[in-house]
């Protein structure tokens, strides 16, 4: 089985080298770039539009990247595509914002409506910094707890199963998580941070409207990414994770306690995912129980683009997907922004399955 996978990959690679389609893809990208520059130069494409789209794409990309790190880690260390990853985002978003609402609206509205994020509070970072920070932290912690429970109940008994069995089980987990959230919080879409974004940062005026919420998202996302980078590159645990992604069997006979590393993988991955869920709401302002599921395929796209197993790949892939989705609307109808991102993912899987940035593949 493994042999044939390697064979297929091997043949796939030779195919890439000889096949002209890949060059065509790059050619198209190049042509679009030239067209963009030309459009900007002649004024056919307004600079303002492009910078707004770029900014948007960057934000979405950061979120996708942040959420993608966790998916990439579990994909390479536990060897399966986790289809419940999107719903971990949902869990993070709901649990975190419950906490924020409990703190932010204390004494203003009823406990129950705050717990279920139904109170109409215009939470902003400047207005309720403590509540936001506490929500962010709790979003991570609660998501970690859920992920560990799921691992204990579902994935650990199946450690020796094939990646496909685990994938199918994760579809079941996705259904359970999402609809439990729906059961508790109901299905309606709620405005969470209010419609107005008042806190425009004065420093950044003129470069487009940057709300404090947006700025927070960027700062936290980048900080978390740097944190993960340090953890994975500089600590023994991080090294062990990379070692396991490289070669599970060798890790075992080298004396790395693999089960413990798996637990830490969930903790790290789910923590980031929960935080990403919280931050997405900060940026979007709205929340419903499909929020994570709707992002799942885009996150897969990001992870695949970057090369499964590489956290930098996930970040880079997230940015590419975010920007593709956003900037593609310069040329194609906005309805096709997401299909364009998916198409890019499919093309990468076809012609460069190890990812654009050639991360470590694990099969």
């Amino acid at each position: 089985m493994c042999m044939s996978a390697i064979d297929t990959l091997g043949r796939g690679n030779t195919f890439v080298r000889t096949h002209p389609s890949l060059s065509l893809v790059f050619l198209v990208g190049f042509a679009l770039g030239v067209d963009l520059v030309h459009g900007l130069y002649t004024g056919r494409i307004p600079l303002e539009n492009v910078s707004r789209l770029f900014w948007n794409g960057l934000l979405v990309g950061l979120i996708l990247g942040l959420a993608g790190i966790g998916l990439s880690m579990t994909y390479s260390i536990l060897n399966f595509a986790n289809f419940s990853h999107g719903d971990l985002i949902t869990v993070g978003a709901f649990s975190g914002w419950s906490v924020t609402y409990l703190l932010a609206g204390a004494g203003v509205t009823e406990f129950g409506t705050r717990l279920l994020i139904d109170a109409n509070l215009n939470v902003t970072v400047l207005g309720d910094p403590v509540a936001v920070v506490a929500g962010l932290v709790l979003a991570s912690i609660l998501t970690i707890l859920i992920a560990l429970v799921v691992d204990r109940l579902v994935y650990r008994p199946m450690r020796d199963s094939s990646g496909i069995s685990l994938l199918i089980a994760s579809i079941g987990v996705a259904l359970v998580l999402r609809h439990l959230v729906a059961f508790v919080y109901r299905a309606h879409t709620r405005g969470v941070t209010g419609s107005e974004r008042v806190d425009i940062l004065p420093v950044l005026e003129g470069t487009g409207d940057v709300s404090v919420n947006t700025a927070t998202l960027m700062i936290v996302a980048v900080a978390l990414m740097i944190g993960v980078h340090l953890l994975v590159q500089r600590t023994k645990l991080g090294t062990a994770m990379r070692a396991m992604a490289d070669n599970q069997d060798l890790a075992l006979i080298t004396g790395i306690p693999t089960e413990r590393v798996v637990t830490w993988t969930w903790i790290l991955g789910a923590g980031l995912t929960g935080a990403a869920g919280f931050l997405i709401v900060l940026e979007r302002g709205t929340l419903d129980f499909n929020i994570g599921w709707g992002l799942l395929l885009l996150i897969f796209a990001a992870v695949i683009l970057g090369g499964i197993g590489s956290i930098y790949g996930a970040i880079g892939g997230g940015l590419v997907i975010g920007l593709t989705q956003s900037l593609s609307t310069i040329w194609i109808p906005s309805d096709f922004a997401t299909p364009a991102a998916f198409s890019l993912m499919i093309l990468v899987l076809l012609f460069r399955p190890s990812g654009l940035f050639s991360g470590v593949t694990t099969a």
Binding site: G172, H179, R186, F300, I304, F336, I346, A363
Partner: protein, 515 residues
């Protein structure tokens, strides 16, 4: 060793009675004449037994809920619809995943292509979302062809992708398809170029396959006009039982669906029991081996992908054709997962298992939970307890738990939308448990030999030519099988349907199974 449920293929020498190769049974063929002859016959009996068991259960539910005849018939009509649609979809997916090992999770997308193509071809040119106004059969064929063509596009990556990557590619493709049909911009573009439209997220109306039934029952296919002879007879008969014409019409459509299921089943059993199906299984087991034995595996995979997608398109057409309205929301990826759950429950690799999986899923798991709230209400009412209006929020339902008052939570849990959430939780749990505990599903453990004839039944004349003492081979074979069968049985105790176990007991060809 299920053989096609038609008798023409293996002439008179049908040797399919599995037991025949075992000792004893040959000596006394008369004694078995009352029992089902072959595995496929037993399978058909099994399917119908389950169907009627489920009918009985739902009829009881209807009685418990004080439904009248029309109400009960309508409940049964509805569950039949879901059972049939899922059975067809699962059979098609079984061809991809169960037989060939192609991990396609884009089922919903391929269905959408079929349905929308059919809708565009057949919708009236004057409708809100205008179509070409072509005849029904053109729409059906066109829809299947288009699904197959999109399947071809998806098959090309299937040639060399790892299973998990293929899953993501097909899911991505299915989402691209759904988002395209959801796009108003796409609809407008269609209208500008071809003069047809899909109406984006609002969906579109089209004549639908239910028209077939209306034509059979009413002159000119119009419900306001005179019934046909058939319609007249059936409506008359129904009236004597106080059954409404509308219900008769609904059951008429179920007949169409039933024919669909039978056609799918026959087709797929024939594929399964053929050299073609043998190559598919070999590809699933080890593609390099199939390749090294001279099979052009890529060609087989392309054919299978196209055929399976065409069938998914057809199943979609028959499903949405029941209402004559379709919208992109019907084709969310969840739909694909439902089909997968049904397939895994039934047992990937078994066509009979696929039908049973579709049946169990569509009725018990998908429709069944929706009756729970009303049953609960009825039950509590009998006990003299009033459930009351459900609390508005989960919080309001939890609070009374502190004072040990379970009723508000019950009421909340059984409020209609909440029941549907809990149903999905249940589906998820079932999926996880099946994958963990019984990955082969109900029937996936069976040995279903891929051959057009019974392989164990070699003709005696050539056996002597072979220079082997005639008697040794069958005896050896029997010994081997009985031990194999025994170990499989012990490993399996306590699982599955008793009918399945009976089946295995009498089956001589069991070489053990895979856990």
């Amino acid at each position: 060793m299920s053989s096609p449920p038609t008798s023409d293929d293996d002439g008179g020498s049908r040797p399919d009675s599995d037991a025949s190769s075992g000792s004893g049974s040959d000596s006394d063929p008369e004694s078995r004449s009352l029992l089902p002859e072959t595995r496929w016959q037993r399978d058909v009996i099994l399917i119908f037994a389950m169907l009627f068991g489920i009918y009985a259960l739902f009829a009881l539910i209807g009685v418990a809920l004080d439904f009248d005849t029309n109400g009960i018939l309508n409940v049964l009509r509805e569950i039949t619809l879901f059972a049939a649609v899922y059975a067809m979809l699962v059979l098609a997916l079984n061809l991809h995943w169960g037989y060939t090992g192609l991990f396609n999770i884009g089922v919903a997308g391929f269905m959408a292509v079929g349905v929308y193509t059919m809708a565009i071809l057949t919708a009236s040119p004057d409708a809100t979302a205008p179509g070409f106004g072509l005849p029904l059969w053109v729409g059906i064929v066109g829809g299947m062809v288009m699904s197959a063509l999109v399947g071809l596009v998806a098959a090309l990556p299937a040639l060399r992708l790892r299973a998990d990557y293929l899953a993501i590619v097909t899911l991505g493709l299915s989402e691209i398809i759904r988002l395209t049909f959801q796009s108003m911009q796409f609809s407008n573009a269609l209208e500008d170029t071809l003069g047809v439209a899909t109406n984006g997220g609002s969906g579109m109306n089209f004549p639908g396959t239910r028209g077939v039934v209306q034509y059979a029952f009413y002159r000119g296919g119009d419900r306001t006009s005179e019934p046909t002879v058939l319609g007249d007879a059936l409506f008359g008969l129904a009236e004597s039982f106080d059954v409404l014409p509308l219900v008769v019409l609904g059951w008429g459509y179920n007949v169409v669906l039933g024919i669909g299921v039978i056609a799918f089943y026959v087709l797929l059993v024939r594929i399964a029991n053929s050299p073609f199906g043998r190559v598919l299984k070999a590809i699933r087991e080890d593609e390099l081996v199939a390749d090294s034995l001279g099979k052009n595996t890529n060609l087989f995979k392309i054919k299978v992908f196209m055929l399976g997608c065409a069938l998914m398109g057809l199943a979609g057409i028959l499903w949405q054709g029941q209402t004559g309205y379709t919208s992109p929301h019907e084709f969310r990826p969840e739909l694909t997962f439902y089909v997968f759950i049904a397939l895994i429950i039934g047992g990937a690799g078994s066509n009979t298992g696929s039908v049973i999986g579709g049946l169990v899923f569509g009725t018990l798991l998908f429709q069944g939970p929706l009756y729970v709230p009303r049953l609960l209400q009825e039950g509590l009412a009998v006990a003299g307890v009033e459930l009351g209006t459900p609390p508005n929020t989960f919080y309001d339902a939890v609070l009374p738990l502190g004072s040990l008052d379970l009723l508000p939570m019950l009421a909340y849990a059984t409020a209609s939308t909440n029941v549907s959430y809990l149903r999905f939780v249940l589906l998820g749990v079932v999926l996880i448990l099946v994958v963990q505990r019984r990955p082969e599903g109900l029937l996936g453990h069976r040995v279903e030999t891929a051959a057009a004839v019974d392989l164990s039944n070699r003709s005696r004349s050539t056996a002597t030519d072979g220079g082997n003492p005639e008697s040794t081979s069958p005896v050896d074979e029997h010994d081997q099988e009985s031990t194999g069968g025994h170990s499989a049985r012990t490993a399996d105790d306590g699982h599955g349907l008793s009918a399945v176990r009976d089946d295995r007991d009498s089956s001589a060809t069991n070489g053990g199974h895979d856990e």
